[in-house]
Symmetry: C2
Subunit: 170 residues, 2 copies
């Protein structure tokens, strides 16, 4: 590969722009937006010794109380082992409780405690504020266009998961 290092690697000095009609501007903005979007809860989580994974679990358990472990794995798209550690910590710290499934006793339904609900709200608050401020700043009166855009960014076969979740309008 690097047979002749003296000439093999010629630096390209021009910036990529519209080549192939690629939307670099929006690609980058998604990166920056997400980076800062997650930074607010990250700071709060650090106080609890939690990470981003704990946040996601706590979020979905609060959004869909009674979720089973399998359902949670499916939403998060992670493996059982990845979930195990963070879920155990959240249970040990009293943020989440497990209840044996009423119909199928093999299942463990996951519910937030008052403590877990409280933390979930504390984590969501700055994110919601950031979104609201951005909508206002962009002069977007109708939330639904952004909602539609983001939803369309999700893989079609996974959009079903979103619809299961409660909507603000409900």
């Amino acid at each position: 590969m690097a047979a002749r290092p003296s000439e093999a690697a010629t630096p390209i000095r021009t910036a990529v722009a519209d080549e192939d009609g690629i939307d670099f501007a929006l690609i980058e903005l998604v990166f920056f937006a997400y980076r800062d979007f997650t930074s607010d809860p990250d700071q709060i989580l650090a106080d609890y010794g939690f990470g981003r994974a704990h946040h996601r679990v706590l979020h979905f358990v609060n959004r869909r109380p009674g979720l089973t472990v399998a359902e949670l794995l499916d939403v998060l798209k992670i493996t059982k082992q990845s979930l195990a550690r963070v879920l155990k910590q959240l249970i040990d710290t009293g943020h989440i409780v497990q209840v044996q499934g009423p119909r199928d006793r093999r299942q463990r339904e996951l519910y937030p405690t008052a403590k877990g609900r409280s933390l979930a709200l504390a984590l969501a608050r700055p994110q919601s504020r950031r979104i609201a401020a951005a909508l206002q700043d962009a002069g977007i009166a109708d939330r639904s266009s952004v909602e539609h855009f983001l939803k369309a960014m999700v893989n079609p076969e996974l959009r079903a998961q979103i619809d299961i979740l409660p909507r603000d309008s409900s």
Copy 2:
């Protein structure tokens, strides 16, 4: 804390909704959208033995050829050590070359090679397609509203970084 496990943890069975006016729907959509947005390049990167960190470095070196190491660290908001590993790999594999700074010889200007440019484009292509499809799906004729929204999601003090980057209109 868990003095009386039998009653300390009472499960909350109601889903969080509009409590405190928190926009859970959009918070969730940002998570889902970003998860799938990054999944396309992740698959390509796996073929090279690279990860998401390599992608980001490659992206910004292509967008701002001649970036110094310090500038790259500032954009990515990671530490020198985190960058070192991935940057070394990208240099060793001939995707990026370092050039001694012309004015300040302590600096190392980073440039993509033809190979690096090519990979950056390959990684950006599916992301750009996803964005374009989502805009169309959402019936958003004017990209600028989404662009403005995403930009407003970024911390104000960090927006300067975005403006340095080349715009599609240039």
